[in-house]
Symmetry: C2
Subunit: 458 residues, 2 copies
């Protein structure tokens, strides 16, 4: 208790009173992200700094007293990367939420880490600009969290992931020093790419306090086509044909039969029960109608039973509704879900979907798959009841088996959700001993005392 009292006195010496929270009812609410079934501890204190200097004070204090620090954004992550450890300082960046600059000539935005993704997207949109990364949680998640987890989204098939939009960072290191990485320029190769090293590092190398982000010009509104298939394999074949023919959709999403039925049950979308896969393709090109026609033909050639191109933005939105409801609908199946994030070369997508269906059958579980099909990035969602120990065990085993299948197919255990606590053991399988040793070496270089987000990644 003396240690805690000392910690609080020191923290308060450089932070306003309201920025240091110790009420256990409140601190408990900071204990985990949306992977609520992953292990999580109780923080000693939650701090809510409003400036880089205050973050530096927190990190200097943590280093002096050897207290672990868990950085957090909006806690919408799905891998437990933001979960607290017992006795840690939770460092929430949500109060550092200013957009500092939007520059249409240089096509950059400069932001603090707590800015909500949707807030930034709308602000740049008002100036004719576009910040593409659009994770499903975009109305809640923060840019800092997006950087920490290298978030993806629906747009990635055309526009890539968060990593491709981070040009430079201000980072507070474990010992409280401030590091500036990268640039405000379109190009730059001065030294090792430390910026990219921080992206996806899940708060384990430093605390991002400012980011220079690249922006694109706002594209035309996208037009969507929906295609129904009698098998997942046929839909995957359509995906391969679309990409092989050189199309560049702004979105290419797939829902499997299990997901479709869950959505139908929830929202009565009127999809026939014989539909085993729904493919959604969109184009934000100058002539999207022509692109949809070409893609519609490829879907038909791959065996689509129905092809429905939207005629305008409103119809497009309707078609996307089903996809947007997918996770909610699957969450309604059982009390809990465990969301996998396996990404395979898109030529192996059919094998992954068929393998996942076999795993669901083997473990007698409902596993619905939605996928950013154009990227080969799938989200097999295992539905289970955490109160049922046997079902929980089967859920975890099936979850792991899907990752094993992903690796076997030449894929990765995580396309966009990150490792966190959930996939720690799997990271070492994917990286191998040499890769793991180097990753640990990098961690030691940045955080020799191991205070930053301990117990995550590896």
């Amino acid at each position: 208790m003396d240690d805690l009292a000392d910690l609080l006195v020191r923290l308060r010496s450089g932070l306003p009173a309201e920025a240091v929270i110790t009420d256990p009812d409140i601190t408990a609410s900071y204990s985990h992200d949306m992977a609520s079934f992953c292990e999580a501890g109780i923080p000693a204190v939650v701090v809510l700094p409003r400036s880089a200097e205050q973050v530096q004070h927190v990190m200097r204090t943590a280093t002096e007293l050897r207290v672990p620090v868990v950085p957090q954004g909006a806690r919408t992550g799905l891998s437990g990367a933001a979960n607290a450890s017992d006795g840690c300082i939770v460092l929430s960046l949500t109060k550092m939420d200013r957009i500092l600059e939007i520059n249409p000539v240089d096509r950059i935005a400069v932001v603090e880490p707590g800015v909500i993704n949707a807030t930034l997207s709308r602000a740049v949109g008002e100036q004719g600009l576009y910040y593409p990364p659009d994770p499903s949680s975009w109305e809640m998640c923060t840019i800092g969290g997006n950087i920490g987890t290298a978030s993806g989204g629906l747009c990635c098939v055309k526009y890539g992931v968060t990593a491709e939009y981070v040009l430079g960072l201000d980072v507070v290191l474990a010992d409280g020093r401030l590091l500036t990485t990268g640039r405000r320029t379109a190009k730059g190769v001065a030294g090792y790419d430390l910026t990219r090293l921080f992206v996806g590092s899940e708060g384990s190398l430093g605390i991002v306090v400012k980011a220079v982000l690249a922006l694109k010009p706002q594209p035309p509104r996208q037009l969507v086509l929906a295609a129904e298939f009698a098998s997942a394999a046929a839909a995957c074949d359509a995906v391969c044909r679309i990409m092989e023919r050189g199309h560049t959709p702004s979105l290419l999403e797939l829902m499997d039969g299990t997901t479709i039925r869950a959505v139908n049950a929830m929202a009565n979308m009127g999809l026939p029960d014989t539909t085993e896969a729904l493919l959604l393709a969109a184009f934000d090109t100058p002539d999207p109608t022509a692109d949809l026609t070409a893609v519609g033909k490829l879907c038909a050639a791959a065996g689509a039973t129905e092809v429905v191109p939207a005629e305008d933005a409103a119809e497009s939105e309707m078609l996307l509704q089903a996809r947007r409801l997918s996770l909610t609908a699957l969450e309604a199946v059982k009390a809990a879900t465990m969301i996998d994030d396996v990404c395979v070369p898109r030529s192996r997508l059919a094998a992954l979907l068929e393998g996942t269906a076999a795993i669901a059958q083997k473990y007698d579980l409902t596993i619905g798959v939605c996928a950013h099909a154009g990227d080969g990035n799938t989200h097999p969602t295992v539905c289970f009841d955490p109160a049922d120990p046997d079902e929980s065990r089967r859920a975890r085993e099936s979850f792991d088996e899907i990752m094993a299948l992903g690796l076997e197919l030449g894929g990765t255990i995580t396309g966009e959700h990150g490792v966190g606590v959930l996939k720690k053991e799997w990271l070492s399988r994917e990286l191998g001993p040499v890769g793991l040793e180097l990753q640990r070496g990098i961690k030691r270089t940045f955080d020799p005392l191991g205070l930053l987000n301990p117990g995550k990644l590896f």
Copy 2:
């Protein structure tokens, strides 16, 4: 000599005889890249392995005997990053030149490091695919060298640099172990991004022996517009207007008056002597004529004295000829050139060009600037006579002063050419002490004995 004899015996124990070169006339030709005025030593031996296993043998030998290793591609670099140090092993990757796979569905190519950029570009082009990075030396330079220096090119304003196309690597570490990084998938966030760390690391962290590269579908052929301006500032204003209005040119290049006059003198391009800047814009969109018309109007609004849109591919090529000749023409001005590579936010491009003109005047030198204007990436080219000590001194001082100006304008000392030997002192100025310390920490993690390309970067 005993040490050398021992080194050669050991190298030959795992390499075919013809892969180990000691003839001093030949080894001397491997002493430097195209920054021939940078310091360079004489290698003890040049090795030309043909497989990852042979590279592993070289690195194991080097580690056992503590001999430095300088990796080389085609030695077309401009910063001395491939320059030999005395007594080193030059490890040339030029014989590892196989394209292992081109996959149109997954849109990837898998290549060995010695593949020539143009060879890959043509091979993927035959399958309707596009490998964008196009450094000026693309007919000679290797993919391994491109990865080592994170090369750019003319296409970057739309398609980005080499870094954005490297998905995964096989790397032989300093101690001879093989590391696989990254992925074959479109997305992936499993652990720290080691792939990106190797890109631009100038052979100082490991030897790339295989790369998985992302490809794009081949775009339509681009159509080019040329616009003449009476001042560099007016041309830069046009660049800002084009980018601010949300255009996405596939190329946006600028030549200043000095460069134009050098090209005129060499090839009689018929450009009026009053032209102080030539802007070249290209579009590879479905309707490039419409884009050129819009951009032509923006150029006129910025004060262009002449706007010439090409009507077809042949005319477009003609317009690009002047740009292609720029460096050759500037090289004809004096016996030697020193090419800067400063990149600034494009809103500061005019300030950089005006500042460079003032520096040329101050030092009484010819400094021609061509620029990847859309990226704010300039190549001020200092023409000098290395036999004239005073002019050489002035050349070096002006070269440095341009870098100082670039940093002052919020830019970087190197947009795409890298640091090598040429900009070592400048790297620490750009990174600052904290950044430099971390960069050195990373170097130690990968190469604790400091054997890989010593004396480069920092």
